[in-house]
Every structure is written in structure tokens, then in C-alpha cells.
């Protein structure tokens, strides 16, 4: 029987090795430390649960009145109190995936260059500046988006593309500037630093022996990177992507400033859209009426669920991927 029932056996045996005099004091310190950290961990858990409970409680009136059509209806009309959140859901998902599509090759490519090819004098400034991007407040990105990105994107990318490829549904319709594409681009710039820095960490964990082994077998540098990344780094890079996706899903200010804020579902990336976080930020402060407020909170709830689903799916994929990668690495 251990002295305190909540002590694990392992710790008791360990403290038994120590001088008898020190024991009680060490134990109390250990105990305090353990319980304090447990308390902190519980706090995080409690916060999440409270957040969830509050979202559910506040959105109950909307859930009761609107029901499932909330996520299938495409009309958002605060005047007639008809609330359908599908356009916002669509906008959030599409702009975030667009961002990943752009940021992933950019971030991973830059990480490979910095780690494997860049001369020393270039390494530090490039990675420093890239990481600095992560520290810029999103409203600055939004302003920059309005005044720099939108005109450039409109005049030098969207207009020419629309002239040549305007018949493809993805690029159809008049060109304004504010659009799903602009939102995707600005989000991608915001998440590149995450993908870049995590990818660099992951690349750095590759044992030197493995890399040298590939080279010594006559592999080129490209083959080395392909083999090493393919077998060792994919789970880590995937994790970085999910981290970036998480940020993109919840980003508000920068998105609302460039997306055009139009609750429509259109395939064309050149047309304006809307996102869940953006509509909450836009309409919450001035919303009056119980159902309206409640519907806005329910959008928050849907966003919460979307984030959870994305993380769970990612975890699942990762779990299936890791053993394979390990196997590959061992081979």
C-alpha cells in the first residue's frame, strides 16, 4: 500500500530510492505540481466545453425554429428573418481549401530551399522574414488586400484570365476584384509561415545518414528530397497543413475585407462570396431580435463543428499514414 493512494507505484518506488529525510517534502512538491498541471489541463477542457455549451444554449431558439434547413437553405434575409447559412459554409470551405492549395507548395517548396539549398547568408533573413509574416495582424493583411492585392489581382491576373479562359465555369462572370480568389490568396499568404516553419522543423528531423545514404547510392538531390520527404516528412507536413487550415477556417477580418461579402453560391472563383466568420463579425454588433442573434450564434456553432470535423478527419488520415511512413523509413 503506497503512502498516498493517488500516487502511482512508479513514483513511490522512485522516491523510495532517495534519502528518507527528503521524502515528505519532495512528495508534497511533486503532488502540488502534478495537481496544478492537472488543474490547468482541466481548465482548457472546461473552457472548450463551456464554449460549446454556450454556443448551443444561445443558438437554441434558431435551432428550434429553423431546424436542419439552416445548413441547406441558401437565403439569408435578416429583414424577413429567413436564415440559411449554406452560402457562408460554402465560402469558408472553398476559400480555405483554395488557400491550402496555394500555400502548401509555396510553404513546402520554400522550406526545402531554405533547408537544403540556400547559402548560409540567405537562410536566416529568408526564414526570419517568412516567420515575421505570421506576426502581422490580420486587419493589416485586409487593408493591404484592399489597396494593393485587389487592384493587382484584378488588372494583371483576373482580367487576362477571364478574357482567355472566361468560358471555364471557374473563371466566369464579370471581374470586380473582391472575390473568392482574392480571399484564398490573402489566406494563403497568412498561412504560408505556419506551413513553412513546421515543414522546416520536420525536414530538420530527417537523419543525416538517410540523406547521405540516398546520395551515396548515386541518387540526385531531387531524388534524395523526394524519397526522404515521401517517407519521412509527409505526416509532419500534413500536420502543418491542418494547422494552416485551422487558421484559414476561422480568419475573419482579412477575409471580409476582400471576399466581397455576397452570400451566393457560385462556382466561379472570380465572383464575390462570404464566409461564416465574416458574417458573424459583420452583423453581430448591430443585430437586434432574438432569432437573428441566435442564427448568428448558430453560424458560430456550425463553424465550431466544421473545425472539429476537419481535425478529426485529419487525425484519422494521419494515424493511417504514420505507420506506413515509418515502415517506409525503415525499409
Amino acid at each position: 500500500m503506497p503512502p498516498f493512494p493517488f500516487f502511482s507505484n512508479k513514483r513511490v518506488t522512485r522516491s523510495a530510492d532517495r534519502p528518507e529525510k527528503m521524502k515528505p517534502r519532495e512528495n508534497i512538491k511533486d503532488l502540488l505540481f502534478e495537481k496544478t498541471t492537472a488543474l490547468f489541463a482541466l481548465c482548457v477542457l472546461a473552457l472548450t466545453l463551456l464554449l460549446f455549451a454556450l454556443l448551443v444554449r444561445e443558438s437554441l431558439p434558431a435551432i428550434r425554429k429553423i431546424g436542419a434547413s439552416f445548413v441547406t437553405n441558401t437565403t439569408w434575409d435578416p429583414v424577413l428573418e429567413e436564415f440559411g447559412a449554406l452560402p457562408f459554409l460554402y465560402g469558408t470551405v472553398v476559400s480555405s481549401f483554395l488557400a491550402i492549395l496555394i500555400a502548401l507548395p509555396l510553404g513546402v517548396g520554400a522550406a526545402i530551399f531554405i533547408n537544403e539549398f540556400a547559402p548560409k547568408w540567405l537562410k536566416t533573413p529568408v526564414s526570419f522574414l517568412a516567420e515575421l509574416l505570421a506576426a502581422i495582424p490580420s486587419v493589416i493583411y485586409g487593408l493591404w488586400g484592399i489597396f494593393v492585392l485587389l487592384p493587382v489581382l484584378r488588372d494583371y491576373f483576373m482580367k487576362p484570365v477571364s478574357r482567355v479562359l472566361g468560358w471555364i465555369p471557374l473563371f466566369q462572370g464579370p471581374v470586380y476584384g473582391p472575390s473568392m480568389l482574392a480571399a484564398g490568396v490573402i489566406l494563403s499568404i497568412m498561412i504560408v509561415p505556419f506551413i513553412l516553419s513546421v515543414s522546416r522543423e520536420v525536414l530538420a528531423t530527417v537523419p543525416k545518414v538517410q540523406k547521405e545514404a540516398v546520395l551515396s547510392l548515386g541518387g540526385t538531390r531531387w531524388e534524395m528530397i523526394r524519397i526522404v520527404i515521401g517517407q519521412h516528412c509527409i505526416p509532419g507536413i500534413f500536420g502543418a497543413t491542418i494547422l494552416g487550415l485551422g487558421r484559414a477556417l476561422g480568419e475573419t477580418m482579412a477575409v471580409t475585407m476582400v471576399i466581397g461579402n455576397r452570400p451566393d453560391i457560385v462556382l466561379s472563383l472570380f465572383q464575390p462570396g462570404y464566409s461564416m466568420a465574416a458574417v458573424i463579425a459583420n452583423e453581430f454588433t448591430e443585430a437586434t431580435g432574438e432569432l437573428y442573434l441566435s442564427a448568428l450564434v448558430e453560424i458560430g456553432l456550425v463553424l465550431f463543428f466544421l473545425t472539429i470535423v476537419v481535425h478529426l478527419v485529419a487525425k484519422g488520415i494521419l494515424r493511417r499514414m504514420v505507420p506506413e511512413a515509418r515502415k517506409g523509413a525503415a525499409r
Binding site: T75, W76, D77, P78, V79, L80, I146, F147, L150, P151, P174, Y176, G177, P178, T256, M257, G260, N261, R262, P263, P272, Y274, A278, A281, N282, E283, F284, T285, E286, A287, T288, G289
Partner: protein
Amino acid sequence: MKKRMAIGIAIFGIAFWIGGASPAGAADSFTVTGAGATFPYPLYSKWFYEYSNAHPGVNFNYQSIGSGGGIRQITAGTVDFGATDAPMKDEDMVKLPGPIFHIPTAIGAVTVVYNLERVKSGLKLTPDALANIYLGKITRWNDPQIASQNPGVKLPGEDIVVAHRSDGSGTTDIFTNYLATVNPGWKKKVGRGKSVRWPVGLGGKGNEGVAGVVKQTPGAIGYVELAYATQNKMTVAAVRNREGAFILPSLESTSEAAAGAAKTMPADYRVALVDAPGKGSYPICGFTWLLVYKDQRDAAKGKALVSFLKWAMHDGQKMNTPLLYAPIPKPVVEKVDATLKQIQYKGKSLY
């Protein structure tokens, strides 16, 4: 070492606590709190500053969290006064713990701005043309509905890019209220509100968001507050009023609208100024209000609030014009004075 640090932190904390507590503990100094509309915030903060300087001991804490938030807070009783750009709806007033007064403090105008190369300020728009542009029925600048009112102006055949506010705002409320008043089609299809379901157009966040779209998109049209358009020297349209004259937005034409509406002012001031009579009156404007309970819960605070409101309606009004808000017309001020006399603490007037 650790102990010393802990003591240091404790001393610091206590000092902070005492420092923070002492002003509140002083004899006859207190803070009147308010929350609400962002549109009149520059004017209110000037008023609070001037009034506090002239009346030491009275401090104001105003949070410009938006009209909706202001209404929510005054309904919950967490602030001493609220502020709103759109009058409270009847169904919201039922939820209040007691009768409330809407005190009009200033008048704001909403200007129609556009971006057309070679067309300077003063493009003439009829109410129907404006409504049809926002309904998506007029899509090109050289549409006969616009061109017929602007002989001699060379209008391009460009697409009209419509911009509107994406965030809920009193500005949108005034603008949509105007369109709903002058155009039955708008009233039926869209209606009036701080956020509406726009048939066409891009949403910009805030005045700066709409202005950003308009300034950067050739062929764009949008609406922003008068003060914002003036300060940023934007190209503004003249809108036809109900007397048939095309009026450019300005403080004078806004005041004239208020004077025109003063005659038919209801007792609770919850009136829209849009499409007001008067030869020179600009048709798209509206009041902004402070929300004050008739029965005050705290004698001293209530007294301070009433004397502040009295000051704001007289001395304070002189600060409206320099800050680009139209002042409340004299006949309305007299009416408001009578209303302020009804504010009471336990049945006694605080005026």
C-alpha cells in the same frame, strides 16, 4: 529570491489596486456610462470632453459598440444611457423594464458616391433610378433612366458595380429606409434594415470598405456617410427630392430636411427623416438618438445625465457643424426640452 519576487508582485498589485480605486472613492466624482452607435461617436466624445471639463467630477464612459449593442445594453440596464442610429422597434420596446425616451442629438446624411471617369460630382439620380440600380434592374451607366436626367453628361456604357455595407449599420438602415419609402418594388422585395438581403452588389466593411470598392472600381456606385464622403472628397450624386429638385448632400440641405420634418414630428421622436418635404431638403438622412429611461435609478447620476442632455441640446449643438453633423432644428430642441423635464427620480423631475 523567489520570495522577494512574490513580495514585489504583491506590493505592485496592492499599489495598483489602491491607485485604481482611489478616484472612484473620491467624494462627488462619478462616471456615467453609455454604449451604442458608432456613427455619432466623434461628436459624443467631443461633447463628453467639453462637458467634463466644464463640470469637474462628472465623467463619461461611452463605448461605441454599435446601435444593436447599445439597445441590448440599455435593455439589460448595464449602462446609464444607450445610443442608436435606428429607432427601437415596438416589439423591442415592450421588453424594456420601463418607458424610455429617444433624444435626437444630431442628423446624419447618407451620400451616394460613384466612380466615373470624366463625370464630376453632381450626377443627377431620381429615386427610382437609384432603387433600380440597387435592385439590379439598371445595369449600365448609359441607361435611359439615368441619361434622360443628365443631358450633356457623357455617360459610358460600362457596367454598374454596386457596393453596399456588409456590416449592419445605421447608414444602411437610413439608405434602405429611403429606398423602401420611395420605391414600392424595393419595399416589397428587400425592405428596410441595418442588414438586408441585397439583390446585387459587393459588400464592403464599414464606410471605408464601401469607399474602397468605389474608389478602386471604375463604374462603381456606393453609399457612405456625409462626413466620410466630405472628408475624403468623394464624388457625390445629387438626388431628386419630393419637390422635384436635385439636391447635393450637405449640412445645409440636411438641416433643411430636418426643418421640413419638424412640423410633423411625433412626440417620441421615432421618425425617419427620409424623403422629407422642403424645397432644398436632401432626401436621404436620419436622426441619431440617445436612449434614456424616464425613471432614473440613481439620483445623482440621473441629475448629471439630464443636465448633460440639456447642455448637449443647446451648447453642444454648436459643435455639430464643425464635425459635419447637422444640428437639431430649433423647434425640435424646444420639444426635447419639454421631454427632458419628464425624466425623473422617484417621481421628481431632474431637469
